[in-house]
Amino acid sequence: MSKQSLPSNSRAAADEQNSVAVIDAEGPETGQMSVEPEAVKKDQKRHLADYDRKTLVELLRQMLLIRRFEEKSAEAYSMGKIGGFCHLYIGQEAVAVGAISAIRKDDYVLTSYRDHGQAIAKGMSPDAVMAELFGKAGGCSQGKGGSMHLFDKSIGFLGGHAIVGGQIPLATGVAFASKYQGTDQVTLCFFGEDAVNQGAFHESLNMAQLWKLPCIYICENNQYGMGTSLQRAMSLHDISQKASAYEMAAEFVDGMDVLAVKEATARAVERARKDYLPTLIEVRTYRFMGHSMSDPGNYRTRAEIEKYQERDPLKVFAASLREEKVISDKDYEAMEKQVQEEVEHALRFADESPLPEPEELYTDVYASPITPGEHGLK
């Protein structure tokens, strides 16, 4: 299920020997996972017994909610209701849902511009997310941030950052603050694999390990930095290995398996809470849509996308739960209906939410504005 460099006495180490669902950790030279959907399901099913039904159903519900939300976002984008950039999370749902299910409500999450999934998984209402995409006053950032800058202080969702890798030093600082303040909160920092090529990644991991900061770095390796494949952008493809440069614990995990992501994150969370130790988790995943809505996607083949779609994390997990009778077909249909309604509600909320007032243009530039010196003719 996962490969782990430290510590060695965990369940993951045992799994490594027993599991059939190990992704080719030598790097995606072929650009393809080495396991079949049936193997993932088989492995997933062996772990279902570790969880109560409520937890499993909630994981599925969140993944389904994010999927339907993103599909609706794509539709709304095509209709011109969403402007600018819109980076969809379809295909990667198991990463945000699995990882965030392993932390507490008072823990922190930071991510990149592909942030709808993490925001919803952290507990942001789809209404507030959709309204933000629409640039409305009811959005989580009052319409000032947009798709790439979702924020909600009340649930510890600290953005939505749109410079590749920019959130990594920030998350390191949030973790620094938790330790400084003497809390046991942990910080999850999500980023794509090409952020690993930024200096910010290396500078942050060095400080996090040097100073023992409770930050969990989750690299969502979807194998393409926009249109450039990992093979064309990175000399060492096994990203989890990069942690060894900083003597940091690392794991490699199948991002198409929500339980695998949850378990790997839970192990990292334990290290962070107990001993203020950081971890780098490489999660191999795949985005089914383009980099953004404007991406024609001509850098990868239809066959490659279809190959990964067979391992669709949502479909595979839903099948595991249904085949093991955790949920019935009827339960799933009811869940679909409820999620559809939630997304429709978000759409209506966003549509009906007012535009920001014109005077909002000049608010929130400074927390302590100084009037005598305000300048520039408005």
Partner: protein
Amino acid sequence: MAVITMREALNQALREEMLRDENVFLMGEEVAEYQGAYKVTKGLLQELGPKRVIDTPITELGFAGLGVGAAMVGLRPIVEFMTFNFSILATDQIINSAAKMLYMSGGQFKIPIVFRGPGGSAYQVSSQHSQALESWFAYFPGIKVVMPSTPADAKGLLKSAIRDDDPVIFIEQERMYGHKGEVPEDTDFTVPLGVADVKREGTDATIVARSVMVPVALKAAEVLQEQGVSCEVIDPRTIRPLDIDTIVTSVKKTNRVVVAEESHPFCGVAAEISTEIMERAFDYLDAPVRRISGADVPMPYAKNLEALAIPTVDQLVAAVKEVAYLE
């Protein structure tokens, strides 16, 4: 009041504010065990301990961003750049994160952080170590930029910057650390941000000068006084937000103005001040606004060339005479 150096005044401000609020911590290269590359942080590690005074690796982007992240969740970091030249590596975090976080989060995340350190010209340290970067930072809404010119202002402004809820760029002129002046000992002494100071009153011409150009302007004013020209010297102290009202009030009185700076002229702060004066007080001007800036070249190493690149008292005197139509 005690007479102390700007270095000591800054040290007092750091110490007092760290004692006042335990959410304030200081980080940077060589700030702790080495006692500061310019000794501004001398004694702080010993008094406040390694949790509050932190030596960083040479990793400017990383620790600047770490500071911004810590500020998002309630801490009040002071990030020292050994010199502001190195802040260039950290500009992504200063500009894209610190300056914009409050706005793009719809007002949810204020960033109370101070980025401080020496800037501007020094003594023969050549192109990469002699740069006045205030116009870069002042360009961005969301940031405040402060440049003190006296030990008292340095202390009072730094204390205000640390207590301020916004990101503040605090640039200490490298050649001024040894400058001495009277500094109040009261720990409640502060100087408000965004308020200019009239360093010398006068009636015939206004000189707007900041940082190390303030002593140059005061010297020029003395020379000009001997020649019968009364100069008013205005120090904005805070570059952004700029107290343009104080400048304009002075210009309306003197009708003539020279803006002095040691930075490059192109897209510089003096250019902005000149424009603002033109927009607000054009009808009061008896002569075009004149700028005196550093040479528009990378700073040379050779002592004679370096001297030519930094504005002098003579240049400033000549410029004031020009706007007064005396030459």
